[in-house]
């Protein structure tokens, strides 16, 4: 049992999961499953962004769905209305979400805790309202059509589901790879020190505003990346894609998977998306099952699936006095494995 558990944290597990993700379209029963998986991966990228500012840096950002929509709209409008092709528009979407993220961050991060959360909730709602009401720019409730997909090459056509799945997978792997580097680096440790408390972090000589703003911009850029991929996959977007409910969905994924852990966002997002899918036959009643399940999870596993697992594993290995306890690299609550399971 313990052996199996510690295997999960080895690099081998990571490669196994990547292989699984690679062969998933071959073993999926139909194209719809591949589509669901691709959209789960897109959400996972956004949740990784939320994990930077909320999980590592400790600032509850409720504008995250708004930034997701900002990325989607930037890509959608640039390709649909202004005739840009996908990749320049994709870069444009990243720059846009980073830039707006910077402006919002510089103002909102002056506030602490609940005030920051309330402020960003308002920012998210304003973004939603803008997509709905600023019809000259965003077409309002009609939404944006004719969004370009990336140009294909050879037999690869990104308007089909499976090639796009691999594109999304590549971005997801990059997103997780960078997150892994970040969370183990001094910069990641700096964010975590801020999460533990502003006063202590400052007494350690950490510049709060600069680091919080950096974390915020990183998180909005992740959201923008996810939003742009979403627009490229769905190729039709409307104001509802910026609905504030998406922010809360993402928070749910993050909490279920394990806030402030490396593999938590993926486990939470993919897990819940598939759970929701498999409960589809219950239609609206699935919430009756879903709600209590979440409550149980939050009460008994407040650190999420991954966080609880790692805590358990750490104690076990220390108690057992296994060599694993003397890991040369100590790591802060990060799953060393990239859980990437279908």
């Amino acid at each position: 049992m313990l052996k199996l558990a510690s295997f999960m944290t080895r690099p081998a597990a990571k490669y196994l999961l990547i292989v699984l993700a690679l062969v998933f379209p071959l073993i999926a029963r139909n194209e719809y499953q591949v589509y669901v998986m691709a959209s789960a991966f897109i959400w996972a990228i956004a949740v990784y962004g939320l994990n930077i500012i909320t999980g590592y840096c400790g600032q509850l950002n409720l504008a995250h769905g708004g930034f997701f929509a900002l990325g989607a709209y930037t890509l959608g409008l640039l390709t649909g209305d202004y005739g840009w092709s996908f990749w320049p528009a994709f870069v444009g979407a990243l720059l846009m979400t980073a830039f707006i993220g910077f402006l919002v961050g510089v103002v909102s991060l002056r506030l602490k805790e609940h005030y920051f959360a309330i402020f960003t909730l308002c920012v998210g709602f304003i973004m939603y309202m803008l997509t709905d009401k600023w019809e000259e720019l965003t077409h309002g409730p009609i939404g944006v059509r004719d969004i370009a997909a990336p140009h294909g090459f050879g037999i690869v056509d990104f308007t089909e589901t499976t090639p796009f799945y691999y594109l999304v997978l590549a971005f997801l792997i990059f997103a997780i790879w960078f997150m892994g580097k970040l969370s183990r680096s001094l910069l990641g440790r700096t964010f975590m020190a801020i999460r533990n408390g502003d006063d202590l972090a400052q007494s350690l000589g950490i510049n709060l505003m600069r680091n919080k703003t950096l974390a915020f911009v990183l998180s909005t850029t992740y959201a923008g990346m996810a939003g742009a991929l979403y627009a490229g996959m769905v190729r039709f977007i409307g104001p509802e894609d910026g609905n504030i409910l998406h922010t809360f969905d993402m928070i749910t994924y993050l909490l279920a998977g394990g806030i402030g852990t490396l593999s938590g966002p993926l486990v939470g997002t993919v897990g819940i998306v598939w759970l929701t899918q498999s409960l589809q036959f219950l239609e609206e009643y699935r919430m009756i099952l879903f709600g209590p399940l979440l409550v149980v999870l939050v009460i008994f596993f407040p650190r999420g699936i991954v966080g609880s697992f790692l805590g358990w594993l750490h104690r076990k290995t220390l108690d057992a006095g296994l060599p694993a306890a003397k890991q040369k690299e100590s790591r802060i609550a990060t799953g060393k494995g990239v859980e990437n399971n279908a």
């Binding site: 910069l187 020190a193 400052q202 007494s203 350690l204 000589g205 104690r315 003397k326 100590s330």
Partner: protein, 255 residues
């Protein structure tokens, strides 16, 4: 070393610290005592830059640090611990300490992206520093324990170690011995002596009188935000104003 001139902090109409001037010499253990609400913690917050004084100056090694923000003051060599230090419970002791040396490093986002030599070197430096301070406070046997699993006294030592990892010249310790038993208190006192032996200046707030009297080179007594006495433990013990204000009511309990 640390020179305070006419330091005053007003909260609304209340003077939490009122016209305090004092000088702490290098390589000494300096204690600040006084009844609850005397302004001791506010005094620390002023020195560390968490609060800005209403008036007065704070001079560290000849440099006026009064207008600086806390993180710059920390970089100038002021380390501190809090009454309760919020550590990251779910991480190991060593992991908690690595960030302590962050202020002496420069790596940013770009270094993370390209995994630069500088980042690798600085991370090693931080890790080595963490081990060094852990060794200094005598805790290298709990290096891999989670913070949630260590004792109260060990937490105190980890908090010391975290402050030491910043390479300070002076450390401000806010009630370092609160909530630990007498033997452990003696152990912590020894640790403070060891810090001074290694060239640090220690400044502490403490309520445990017997500990202070045996430990401090110099004591400053605050009452209602004002300095009412300063001197060696013997002088303080015999000072009638101090006995009146503070020791008189507490002496039995403290002894």
């Amino acid at each position: 070393m640390l020179k305070i001139e006419n330091l005053t902090k007003m909260f609304g109409g209340l003077a939490a610290v009122n016209d305090v001037s004092v000088e702490f010499e290098a390589n000494r253990i300096n204690a600040i005592i006084g009844p609850n609400g005397a302004g001791k913690s506010t005094f620390f917050n002023l020195v560390a830059g968490t609060h800005k004084p209403t008036s007065g100056r704070i001079i560290l090694d000849g440099e006026d640090i009064t207008p600086l923000r806390c993180d710059y003051i920390a970089q100038r060599g002021v380390g501190r611990t809090f009454q309760t230090t919020n550590l990251f419970e779910q991480a190991s002791v060593l992991d908690n300490l690595i960030v302590g040396h962050r202020l002496r490093t420069k790596s940013g986002l770009w270094d993370v992206l390209i995994n630069s030599k500088r980042l690798q070197w600085e991370e090693k430096a931080c890790r080595d520093k963490a081990r060094e301070v852990l060794d200094f406070v005598g805790l290298n046997h709990v290096e891999n324990r989670l913070i949630a699993d260590i004792t109260q006294e060990e937490r105190k030592r980890v908090a010391f170690a975290l402050a030491l990892a910043t390479d300070p010249k002076i450390v401000l310790l806010d009630e370092p011995a609160a909530g630990v038993n007498p033997e452990e208190t003696e152990g912590l006192a020894d640790l403070m002596r060891k810090m001074v032996d290694h060239g640090l200046t220690v400044c502490l707030i403490e309520h445990k009188m017997d500990m202070i009297m045996g430990l401090a080179d110099k004591i400053m007594v605050l009452d209602h935000g004002e300095k009412i006495a300063e001197g060696t433990p013997t002088e303080i013990r015999e000072n009638p104003v101090v006995i009146e204000a503070y020791l008189g009511s507490d002496e039995d309990a403290a002894a």
